[in-house]
């Protein structure tokens, strides 16, 4: 379904601040794969997701989604295939626009924007049904501005928006990290439900090692722009957080006691 081959990206090349954020990253996702991605700060996790989404062009490598080589396409040209939820709930929604307008824009992801009515009555009916799945009562607030919602409600809406038109690939970059622990739990449970329901292919970045193992069917660890660990199947099912940490140290042969994320369990 998704094939990333030898991706390379250097920010600010040729300067003293130059940084190789991705080094020869290759990753293949089968349809329905749910990969969790972990790694220390600056490991290149967000860079990888941004590269796949087309936020910036990669220096090397190819990105293939569902048989189509999208490497040369700009971000808006790939959007038809990709759904995204960002870390900041503000980033995934337009606050000054209503819930129904946000959903309608998302329902036309990757399509030409016409001079047709933006939200139809038909849209409203299906949005109501869809919002009811959240159990947050948003179905009765279709015309409310999104900025009136709480962070958790906004993020739930962002998740619906990313998946209302079923994406070939769903990219989640620490999308529960900015929420309080209980709300984060809710958002993750919702993510799991939606992903299962539609059998979506997912790449999810998380700083929480327990989540990395409990969600999805595969876990990838990045370090300094490289994939240093890729586990799935039975090997992963038996794994504990401690095992994961140990594997990390074994691969790198280093101690990383000062790394906040690797200790966050």
């Amino acid at each position: 379904m998704v094939s990333l081959r030898h991706l390379g990206k250097t920010f600010l090349p040729g300067t003293t601040n130059g940084r190789m954020a991705l080094r020869d990253v290759s990753l293949d996702l089968a349809s329905g794969d749910f990969v969790t991605i972990i790694g220390s700060n600056g490991a290149g996790k967000s860079t990888l997701l941004n590269a796949v989404a087309g936020v910036f062009p990669v220096d090397e490598g190819t990105i293939i989604i569902d048989g189509q080589d999208v490497t040369a396409l700009p971000e808006h040209g790939r959007a038809a295939a990709i759904g995204r939820v960002f870390q900041d709930p503000m980033q995934g929604t337009a606050g000054s626009m209503s819930i129904e307008e946000n959903l309608a824009m998302a329902a036309r992801r990757g399509e030409r924007r016409r001079l047709a009515r933006g939200v139809t009555q038909e849209d409203r009916e299906s949005f109501k049904e869809y919002l009811a799945l959240l159990g947050l009562g948003l179905e009765s607030r279709l015309s409310d501005q999104v900025k009136l919602l709480s962070g958790g409600q906004r993020q739930a809406l962002a998740l619906l928006m990313a998946t209302i038109k079923r994406p070939k690939l769903l990219l989640l970059d620490e999308h529960a990290a900015a929420l309080d622990p209980r709300t984060a739990q809710d958002i993750l449970a919702l993510t799991d439900r939606i992903v299962r329901r539609y059998g979506l292919t997912v790449m999810m970045v998380t700083h929480n090692l327990r989540h990395a193992l409990t969600f999805g069917n595969r876990t990838v660890m990045m370090h300094e722009g490289e994939i240093v660990l890729d586990v799935g199947g039975p090997e992963r099912s038996g794994m504990t957080v401690a095992d994961l940490l140990e594997r990390f140290h074994a691969t790198r042969g280093e101690r990383l006691s000062d790394d906040r994320i690797l200790l966050e369990v």
């Binding site: 929604t93 337009a94 824009m105 990757g110 924007r113 001079l115 958790g152 209980r182």
Partner: protein, 313 residues
């Protein structure tokens, strides 16, 4: 005594400039883009219309051609900003500056009188509209019609993408919208409205002048801000209605300022001051509020509010 005719004149002006203010609303409020092209595209519309009318073109045709060129002017600013990565403010200033030369080229001189020419107003009179109401009728219908068209447009798929570009570029790009194109089109539409207003103003006042765009952005902004203050922009329809109302109120304010003895040349500083006050209001209020909260007796409630559990639902 203030004559009814003079008040009517202020109303006419408010309505004809409301079309320009709707353009300013589209960039400043909807696209969130501080577009200074306006000071050049307003006289551009006037210059094009005046030149065409003097050349014997039907005034209605002349008035329709003007916004097409206004669109090009706005789109130029959009291209400078999005494709060439020049800052929004500077892009507008560059286009505006270039337009000064363009406008002079079009007109061939600094001022074209239209007093004895056919205009859209004489066309209306020819259709049997009494001379006294021709202007007010035309400008009222134009302002209301364009406001309504804008309302509908902003609720289309395209219009929503335009609004989202102004609200959250990252999001709407992730939904497959080319935000660069949106900005180019949005700036084009905005300046088309501005040029249309310029074309009508030239015919209304009886001349096109190279300097008639000076301070236009600020006047438009003042109208938009005033409108937002008088009419709560709870919906798009109310917001655009507010812009039209704001433009009328602004022209009345100008009218009374002149009657109070302000020299016409001093009006720009008065308008600028008005915009400064309106824009700094929230900042100043926040600062005053912060000081009040720091005062004794208020500290406790503040602390307890901070300790309120950060639960999201």
């Amino acid at each position: 005594m203030i004559s009814l005719g003079a008040l009517g004149g202020a109303l006419e002006q408010g309505l004809v400039y409301a079309v320009m203010a709707l353009g300013v609303y589209l960039t400043f409020r909807v696209l969130n883009f501080p577009d200074l092209t306006v000071d050049g595209s307003f006289p551009l519309g006037a210059a094009v219309a005046a030149k065409l009318i003097c050349g014997g073109v039907d005034p209605v045709v002349a008035t329709v051609v003007a916004p097409a060129l206004g669109f090009v002017a706005g789109a130029t600013t959009g291209v400078l900003n999005t494709r060439l990565r020049i800052s929004g403010l500077l892009s507008g200033i560059l286009t505006m500056t270039a337009l000064y030369s363009v406008n002079l080229r079009i007109m061939g001189r600094a001022n074209i009188p239209l007093l004895r020419s056919a205009t859209v107003l004489t066309t209306l009179r020819g259709l049997g509209v009494p001379a006294g109401v021709a202007a007010i009728l035309l400008f009222l219908v134009s302002a209301i019609l364009l406001k309504l068209v804008l309302d509908v447009f902003l609720r289309t798929e395209f219009g929503m993408a335009l609004r989202a570009t102004g609200d959250n570029e990252v999001m709407i790009r992730s939904l497959g919208v080319n935000t660069d194109s949106m900005k180019i089109v949005g700036l084009g539409l905005s300046n088309a409205l501005v040029a249309l207003s310029g074309a009508m103003v030239a015919q209304y006042q009886g001349f096109a002048d190279i300097g008639m765009g000076i301070g236009m952005v600020v006047a438009g902004l003042a109208s938009v801000i005033l409108g937002g203050a008088i009419i709560a922009p709870i919906s798009i329809g109310m917001a655009t209605f507010g812009v039209v109302a704001g433009s009328v109120v602004y022209r009345f304010a100008v009218f009374f300022a002149l009657r109070m003895g302000f020299a016409p040349t001093d009006l720009k500083i008065v308008t600028a001051a008005l915009v400064v006050i309106a824009l700094s209001g929230p900042t100043i209020r926040a600062r005053l509020g912060a000081e009040r909260r720091r005062a004794p007796g208020h500290g406790k409630s503040e602390a307890s509010r901070e300790n309120f559990p950060a639960r999201n639902h």
